[in-house]
């Protein structure tokens, strides 16, 4: 099996010689050739008559893409999709949603605010695109091998010599002629470089490597098993694992019926909760309940606060029965009575308290929202409203 020729190489001593040799190579009509020098030699591009690089076009394209992408993205993201297009029927998946936030009182589409971002993205994408294209496309990386590697030629040109390399893929390539040409140009150490046999790289195919992989798999598996099943369950603090509490679904040894969770005794009352005696008995409440709260300004202020939160929606701020709900839902039969009617004025505090707690007609009870003491404060405030509505001369002094 004969070796396949990759290229013929020669070494030169000075930059001038190599530039001259490169010019002559171009004159001789060779196209597929390369020059290797330990440092960039000025004028080499010209001597090799290399065409200008196409890299700037990549930069330009990336830059223009970044510019238009940033513009489009910002236009899309800050746009309002719901304006004018049958808004509510438009369904967008969550990852296509737009964020029409008004910032600084500017229009949603404000080009001056977008320009800095467009500029940044333009610069970023041009830079990244240029480097990526240079490495991947123009330099052909990553490449894991080249016939010239590990040759004396490569050692020399990466140290102190200047090398010319004419490759076999050139149309005019003829090994004998090329060697002769190189000698004519004053090349030294003219050598033919052969392609290596196409055997697969040794390390990746060897049984050792496979064995290593299996070993790693077993090792990692074992380690994972031990960590998740042993290490994490090793007991360092036993007192937290073993306490005297009863766990769900556990049978009780103590109680006769074997239930761990016993029902409360009849008549048990929750802490801080007093059951309401006059449930469904407004007359009783009106007759027997007495307002326990003092008529201090703090209590009134608290009552006012709660009244404004819970009552104004229907009864109105001053208890005239003209709250927002009533006004908005006018004509639907919602007509809470005025708190200033003579009937209400005659009601005792307990009667009003009962309505607040239990509700009446459409009105729901507020026992869940307002604590008992606070309900009494609201009653005081309602009384204050009533008094303020028809203030006597003496009240004003």
């Amino acid at each position: 099996m004969s070796k396949k020729v990759d290229s013929v190489v020669a070494l030169f001593d000075t930059p001038d010689q190599i530039i001259h040799a490169a010019e002559k190579t171009v004159e001789a009509g060779y196209k597929e050739f390369d020059v290797h020098t330990p440092y960039p030699v000025h004028g080499m591009d010209h001597a090799m008559s290399l065409p200008g690089t196409k890299l700037p076009y990549v930069t330009l394209m990336c830059g223009l893409f970044g510019f238009s992408f940033a513009l489009f993205f910002q236009w899309y993201v800050s746009g309002d999709p719901l304006s004018g297009f049958g808004a509510k029927q438009l369904f967008l998946p969550y990852w296509l949603e737009r964020y029409p936030f008004v910032i600084g009182g500017k229009p949603l589409f404000s080009l001056p605010a977008f320009v800095p971002v467009m500029f940044e993205v333009t610069v970023l994408l041009s830079a990244l695109g240029t480097v990526a294209a240079m490495i991947a496309v123009f330099c052909g990386l990553p490449a894991n091998g080249h016939p010239l590697h590990n040759t004396d030629y490569m050692k020399a040109v990466s140290c102190n010599r200047f090398g010319l390399c004419i490759e076999a893929k050139d149309a005019n390539f003829d090994e004998a002629k090329v060697r002769e040409f190189m000698l004519e140009q004053g090349g030294q150490s003219v050598v033919t470089v052969y392609e290596p046999y196409r055997r697969p790289p040794s390390f990746f195919s060897s049984l050792i490597f496979l064995g290593l992989l299996v070993g790693v798999a077993i090792g990692v598996g074992t380690k994972t098993y031990i960590v998740y099943n042993k290490v994490l369950y090793s007991w360092m603090f036993l007192w937290l694992d073993y306490t005297d509490k009863v766990k769900p679904q556990q049978k009780s040894e103590f109680f006769a019926d074997g239930r761990t969770m016993q029902l409360p005794v009849d008549g048990t009352v929750a802490r801080g909760y007093m059951p309401y005696e006059y449930k469904g008995n407004p007359e009783g409440a009106g007759q027997f309940l007495v307002n326990p709260a003092d008529q201090t300004s703090e209590v009134l202020a608290h009552g006012k606060k709660l009244y404004n939160i819970y009552c104004t929606a229907c009864h109105g701020t001053y208890g005239d029965g003209d709250g927002k709900v009533v006004v908005r839902e006018a004509g639907k039969g919602l007509k809470p009575p005025s708190l200033h009617s003579s009937k209400l004025k005659e009601w005792s505090d307990g009667r009003i308290y009962h309505v607040i707690s239990e509700g009446q007609n459409v009105m729901p009870g507020y026992a869940k929202q307002i604590l008992a003491d606070e309900r009494w404060a609201v009653v005081h405030y309602v009384r204050a409203l009533q008094r303020a509505k028809d203030a006597k001369e003496s009240d004003l002094q």
Binding site: P40, H42, G52, P56, L60, G104, G105, K106, P112, A113, V115, P116
Partner: protein, 446 residues
């Protein structure tokens, strides 16, 4: 070293004589055109004059900056063309004389918004009153709430003559705050001081450079290097002062902290452009050094490109910050240029000054092609004039251009030709014994 014989001698050459002759002719023609303008519309004349003045000033200042920059950073590439830079920087001396008419007569027309002019009451009462009404109307448009309170007050003393507007209007509190700065004495002192500083530095740089032609001693370079560092600081301050006085104070109510650097950016673009034109033209006619390559043209093109992008960056930043903050004291300046006829000019300016030159100068081929480079240099000079026109003229008028304005352009062209010619006559066109010259001639782009 036969460096001197390598290029044609400027003094006495046909090109030099032709430049002097045409320059003189243009100057005369230009003065005629300016006289027509003066006769037809005095106010327009002074604004057009200011545009021309700021344009010529920016050529000189930009060249002076490049001169100092070369010494400060130890640049090589610009050494072979330094005499041209010196020649353009030398325009500062005649430009200083161009400022005299502004001091003498133009101020009252240009800066009437902040100059108290009791002296003019007798002859121009009605005239000035009209202008102030117009100006005041502009301001009022954007600060209605404030001016209402002031106008109430103003009704009381309408006929007093001691306020900022020569007795016709209530004082503008912002202008009042700037009063110590915006006054005739300070205007004279600071601007004359600026010119003296620039000219002193110019002579220092140029004389050391010329002295070096005799013995090629390194010490002259060293002297210039030492002075170039403080120059940068002084230059930043003086250029800002000049920009504020001559242009920003046209609208005394307005302020922008970026205005100085905005003018500076335009200055660098136009100076790089005029250098490109002169260097390429002279070199192709056999002057300068024969060994100089296109790579030097490339560098000049690069300067134009880079500083043009810088101009765009600065002018956009100035606009964006004001647009974002949206305070009426600041936005009023842009609103004149944002609406009506000036909006067209503004859009055109973006296109003409930035977008087209950006793409036209982007590739290396464009920057190494002399004829295209010269074309773009003229383009950018025109763009800079438009930029100055856009800054100066909207303060007093809607879009306006008169045929006699060409007189100013002709005058500016003649001015550059004539004074550049006379400025570079005194020495070689190449600094023949500069230690950095040879290195500079070898300059090569990669």
């Amino acid at each position: 070293m036969s460096l001197q014989t390598a290029s044609k001698v400027w003094k006495g050459s046909t090109t030099s004589n032709a430049l002097g002759m045409f320059g003189t002719g243009f100057l005369v023609l230009g003065i005629l055109g300016m006289a027509v303008s003066f006769a037809t519309d005095v106010k327009h004349f002074w604004h057009a004059y200011l545009v021309m003045f700021m344009f010529l000033l920016s050529l000189g200042l930009g060249a002076l900056f490049y001169l100092a920059l070369e010494y400060l950073v130890g640049a090589y590439w610009s050494v072979p063309i330094r005499r041209v830079t010196e020649g353009v920087a030398g325009l500062l001396i005649p430009v200083a004389f161009l400022s005299i008419p502004i001091f003498m007569g133009g101020m009252d027309h240009l800066y009437s918004h902040w100059i108290p002019h009791h002296a003019h009451h007798a002859e121009g009462h009605a005239h000035h009153g009209e202008e102030h009404d117009k100006h005041k109307a502009k301001v009022d448009k954007y600060q209605k709430s404030e001016s209402n309170t002031y106008s109430d007050k103003a009704k009381g003393h309408k006929h007093e003559s001691s306020d900022a507007y020569g007795g016709h209007h209530e004082p503008d509190p912002i202008v009042e705050g700037k009063r110590p700065f915006l006054s005739k004495p300070w205007f004279y002192v600071l601007n004359i001081g600026c010119f003296l500083i620039w000219i002193a530095f110019f002579y220092w740089f140029r004389n050391n450079s010329r002295e070096q032609d005799k013995d090629g001693s390194q010490k002259y370079t060293q002297r210039n290097v030492i002075m170039s560092a403080p120059f940068m600081l002084v230059f930043a301050a003086t250029l800002t002062i000049a920009a504020i006085y001559y242009m920003m104070s046209l609208e005394p109510h307005w302020f922008s902290t970026m205005f100085g650097i905005y003018y500076f950016a335009g200055t660098l673009v136009s100076a790089a452009s005029i250098l490109t034109i002169l260097v390429i033209t002279l070199h192709q006619n056999g002057f300068l050094h024969t060994q100089m390559k296109k790579d030097t043209y490339y560098s000049l093109g690069l300067m134009m490109f880079a500083f043009n992008v810088f101009w765009a960056y600065i002018s956009f930043s100035q606009f964006m910050l004001i647009w974002y903050a949206n305070l009426y004291e600041e936005t009023m300046w842009f609103i004149y240029r944002y609406e009506g006829g000036w909006a067209t000019v503004s859009w055109f300016l973006i296109l003409f000054h930035f977008v087209i030159p950006f793409f036209a100068l982007l590739s290396r081929d464009q920057k190494t092609n002399p004829s295209r480079l010269i074309f773009m240099a003229y383009w950018l000079l025109a763009a800079h004039i438009l930029d100055l026109y856009w800054i100066i003229v909207p303060t007093y008028a809607e879009t306006s251009f008169q045929l006699s304005d060409l007189g100013f352009l002709i005058f500016a062209a003649g001015f550059v030709m004539f004074f550049f010619n006379s400025g570079v006559k005194g020495a070689n066109l190449v600094p023949i014994k500069d230690p950095k010259l040879e290195h500079g001639l070898e300059f090569k782009i990669h």
